[in-house]
Symmetry: C2
Subunit: 672 residues, 2 copies
């Protein structure tokens, strides 16, 4: 392990022993996790720059008020802009590594500005607009948010109420929030930070509505940050997590912007108000797809963090007797604890390889789009919607298991879990809530079933829908059940059956005379389950393909194979009903599955700490006392507690105000 500033102390003996036990080369796995030795080296180099820079140091946010958290992130965000310029770090992925380290995994107030607004200007602004706005945005002369969601309207964008009505007499758009529910709500960094926004509003001209369009709308004066006339904006108040983000509200009362502020690469309006629609509305997909991939990657990364914390802590923590009168064992030696930790660890690796694959496809498809080919966009949309739901919810539930596995101390903010949970659980509903996105994937899958029936060729990840899979699992022994192909086939069978079952439910509804939308609603239960099964299949299949197509040493291959088997078998056990119901698996085979899950826990046990060390997350980014690399948990919990704001004085001021008048002790008692 390379040493960061914070990791040079004496290491807890239990952790030392764990690390010596590893059967594989840690560095080899870290290279795989990063995507190659070059990438590991570059990441470490950039992280070290940021972590060693004392300007970025800050108190634990757990001890800060919301105002202090926000102020601190403003300070560090502006600092980040300067440092990135000084270091000349222009590559987006380098910037991302530096930002995560400098801000300890938090977002800067420029996150939306950098990752959504600038790309939107680049792809949806016309040349004149680009010349005007891009330099300002790139130089941070403006800070611009993306403002879409409304108080009463979320995922259904056609329902958004904010209007931009064209007034040909002045060649201006008049922006209005016609109702309370049309108040813009949730946009990130837009309550107090942004002075400008890309606003999504219904374009109206010549008495007609033309649907949602993007407008550049200044919110605050650029010289003193005061609100512009007709604009009301502010913070929407504290949330479950992410106190540093000033998610905002915005209301518009006859706010006028020039005609040129409609982003006009695709749709245009003439001075007289004549509207020209876009040639191609599929492009809207790209932004959503990118943002969903970012969310699922974030959740997957946070699961790595959670696994690191809980696995290390479980090796340090000793509790209860295993042998009567003997030493209290490390809690990682309890089977019940392993059952909490290792399936999540297996999922963390499964998701990491899924993220690798989805990102690669996405890069490819973006390249295709630039060269005019949008044929794969639909597959990516279908995959990313479902996988965003699947990974974000799985990571959320998994992190809850991991936090609870740390017992009481997991509940302390010192564990880091409350903050991680605050981030991850937000991803489940952000940018398309779980069911809504699963249903989008289900819609795509049902279409694919119809295509398959008519003999059409389906893209790679959906190709299994064209051929009816085998109807019985061939495994005869506990050893057979570990076979990777057998496992993939089980998931393939399940997905095939459930997708076709959902399609059948839908068709039956329609044949029984229900209108399409009613039949669709009445099949939600089946459709969501089908989409989930598809995502699960994809994740298992991709893990296996990764193992098959990647060169690695045999010891490492053995360990990753065990993780892959555990991920697949644990999933089968959790969904045993689906495989038993149509007789694909027998009761006896399910018993084999359970036995092998139990057996794999013991197989993974000696490598558990090394498997989380390989994620190579520096302590400063882990943000957890329980997960420290050196394992010195207890002394640092004690040190941390002393920093609690309530401990500023030995006797809290509320004693004098309220408690003393109640506790009327006699002088004799006082001597006790």
């Amino acid at each position: 392990m390379w040493a960061y500033a914070g990791q040079k102390h004496r290491v807890n003996t239990d952790l030392l022993i764990e690390r010596e036990k590893a059967s594989f080369d840690l560095t080899e796995l870290t290279y795989i996790v990063d995507g190659g030795p070059q990438k590991t080296r570059r990441r470490r180099c950039i992280q070290t720059l940021a972590l060693n820079d004392t300007d970025f140091q800050e108190k634990d946010p757990a001890f800060l008020s919301r105002d202090e958290q926000y102020t601190s992130i403003v300070r560090r965000s502006t600092l980040l802009v300067k440092k990135l310029k000084e270091l000349n770090l222009t590559d987006m992925s380098d910037q991302d590594i530096y930002r995560q380290a400098a801000l300890r995994m938090k977002n800067s107030i420029f996150t939306v500005h950098d990752s959504m607004v600038i790309p939107m200007l680049q792809t949806q602004a016309d040349e004149t607009q680009k010349r005007k706005w891009l330099p300002k945005a790139l130089n941070y002369e403006i800070i611009c948010s993306y403002v879409q969601t409304e108080l009463g309207h979320g995922t259904f964008v056609r329902g958004l109420e904010t209007t931009a009505t064209y007034d040909p007499s002045n060649q201006e758009f008049i922006i209005n929030s016609p109702t309370l529910t049309s108040t813009k709500w949730w946009p990130g960094y837009s309550g107090k930070s942004a002075n400008c926004c890309i606003l999504m509003a219904q374009l109206c001209s010549q008495g007609k509505k033309y649907g949602l369009h993007a407008f550049i709308v200044p919110l605050r004066r650029f010289d003193d940050h005061e609100l512009l006339p007709g604009v009301k904006t502010g913070d929407i108040g504290p949330k479950l997590g992410i106190g540093s983000n000033d998610n905002g509200f915005c209301r518009f009362d006859n706010v006028r912007i020039p005609r040129e502020n409609l982003l006009s690469k695709y749709s245009k309006i003439d001075p007289d108000g004549t509207y020209h629609p876009p040639n191609n509305d599929k492009m809207v997909y790209t932004g959503m797809v990118l943002s969903r991939i970012a969310l699922l990657a974030l959740s997957a990364q946070m699961l790595d963090v959670g696994c690191t914390i809980s696995t290390r802590y479980s090796a340090v923590r000793r509790q209860t007797e295993l042998t009567p009168g003997g030493e209290e064992p490390q809690i990682i030696d309890y089977q019940s604890q392993q059952l909490k930790l290792f399936p999540q660890l297996a999922a963390a690796y499964a998701f990491r390889f899924a993220v690798h694959d989805i990102r690669t496809r996405c890069d490819q498809i973006q390249a295709d789009i630039k060269s005019g080919d949008i044929s794969s966009l639909q597959e990516l949309h279908g995959l990313s919607a479902g996988m965003k739901s699947f990974i974000c919810l799985s990571a959320n539930l998994g992190l809850e298991v991991l936090r609870l596995s740390c017992g009481g101390h997991g509940y302390s903010q010192a564990s880091g879990f409350p903050a991680i949970y605050g981030v991850v659980t937000g991803t489940v509903t952000a940018d398309g809530e779980y069911s809504v996105l699963m249903l989008q994937t289900a819609r795509y899958l049902v279409k694919c079933v119809a295509k398959a029936a008519s003999g059409e060729k389906l893209p790679h990840s959906i190709a299994y829908l064209t051929t009816k899979p085998e109807s019985k699992c061939p495994a005869k022994s506990e050893n057979d059940i570990l076979d990777l192909e057998t496992l993939v086939n089980a998931y393939k069978h399940r997905a095939y059956r459930l997708v076709n079952e959902a399609a059948r439910q839908l068709t039956q509804g329609i044949q029984a005379g229900k209108p399409q939308h009613e039949a669709w609603n009445d099949s939600h239960v089946y459709l969501i389950k089908a989409a989930d099964a598809h995502c699960h299949y994809y994740t298992v299949m991709n893990f296996v393909q990764y193992l098959q197509s990647t060169e690695m040493s045999q010891p490492l291959r053995d360990v990753l194979t065990s993780l892959c088997q555990l991920y697949a078998l644990y999933g089968i056990e959790s969904n045993a009903g689906d495989l038993l119901q149509d007789g694909y698996m027998s009761g006896e085979q399910i018993s084999m599955v359970t036995n092998q899950v139990v057996a794999l826990l013991a197989v993974i046990r000696p490598n558990a700490v090394a498997l989380v060390d390989a994620f190579d997350i520096p302590d400063e980014m882990l943000g957890s006392i329980l997960g420290r690399y050196d394992g010195n948990v207890y002394e640092n919990l004690y040190k941390w507690a002393k920093e609690s704001p309530l401990n500023q004085t030995e006797v809290h001021h509320s004693y004098h105000e309220y408690l003393k008048p109640l506790l009327t002790a006699s002088p004799v008692d006082a001597k006790l």
Copy 2:
């Protein structure tokens, strides 16, 4: 609905219509929920007293710093003591109702003092000690915490390290924290509030250790709250929730207390140090049982709160199109939304009836104990340990589903969910972590299997283990599968099989030559599953028995029967593998189960709002804008947001410090 102060506004039309739809008499159900009309009337009367008392009003804690939250709870706790005295509310259950309303579901800083310390003094102190300490405690001349858990030691009490060594020369005990890990950690209200504690420490005398005993140890001077010599105590820092609780740490360095401070009803020490052990150590159980029942009841109540919030909000919220071009429907009309809400609503009722039953048994057993009969204590211990795990974890996961069902707004603190989650998720690990307690129940069940095999009679809730249940589910039609007896039998079959399977795994291990403890550890997976299946059976069986044994009108019986069916069928669907594996149910029967789950969602839909209204939770205690009785969600979200500390000024101070230097706008742009 009776009107509280906050509930007199115009009610949202959608909610009005929902309320008119109810097929049953709301009041009848509220009486059932409370346990009778008298109880409902008394609860409402006491709640109204507390809610109308403006002295208890406070800002939303979401807007307060930790220090302000703590100060506020100290203020209101001392006020509570005064008001209870003024009102002469002496009954514990009346006090509890008043406290919950006055403190808006929060605990007072005297919670541990009132509910643990005073009962301990009453049952474990000798007569002299009672005369000395009880009046002080009852008059709040002292505030006393219960101090057991240590930094390095939780559920395994024998591992606790704090020592109380008897010194006959002064007839004193010397209290010490010999190691860092022996630092007391987590005790409630003991960081800053308590000036005294009941300390659990290892008694040492004449060179021997006599195990854990309870001592009265002053922590702070009773006249000015300064720490006593040798005592270090303070707040352990912020947690995931419950910011108002100063969970504390305590270290002791040669702290001397008189010999008389050992609680001496059961064990005693002579002046010369001769130790007299207790006659009966089973009594230790009672305290733990009571505290676990309190935790499961709290979690169940919080699930009621969560159901109320999300169901009302789902009736108010409109989103997306159901019919093309039509009005956006209430989201409660989406099948996917119903699948989130209604199984949790069914669970809330199932748990409420379980709590009723457990409390009744507990009262009975406490009466038995007073008359010297402790025969039922073991059954109650076995039931309460598992049910604490089962209800607290189910409520925790259920509340997560409910919060996510509110989409983005559920993530806002305005929803109330973050605070509820902060309370409930703490109960999963508090006073015995999930697996530890499930394993305690499993141990009891495995013993019962052995007893059953030897023909011994088993107590009521375990009696099913004596007879092998039917081996096939007899249901032939979708109608058969709704039969309550059929459903109970399915759960009975599952529990019987899994408990016996776990016992078999354990025996096999021992027969294969493993030491008992190793065989036990290697069977954790099976044992925990068995205990869970037992608790699930108990919950379903109890729901059905409640329906069978309680008089109610037919319309109400119909509704509660549907909820009972949904609770049972949803559980079967979620655990289908267990019932398919040994052929108890066929794939076809599981399809019937799924179809009936879907059908029941539609059956419950018209009564959903009335079913949560019947919990009769006043808005002030709900603490949620989304769940308001009047459904005026959006205007109040807007009003609430304006109170956010970040909105105190239009331009946040961080702009001048950090942002302005970065954003160097030109005068021309400023006009935009």
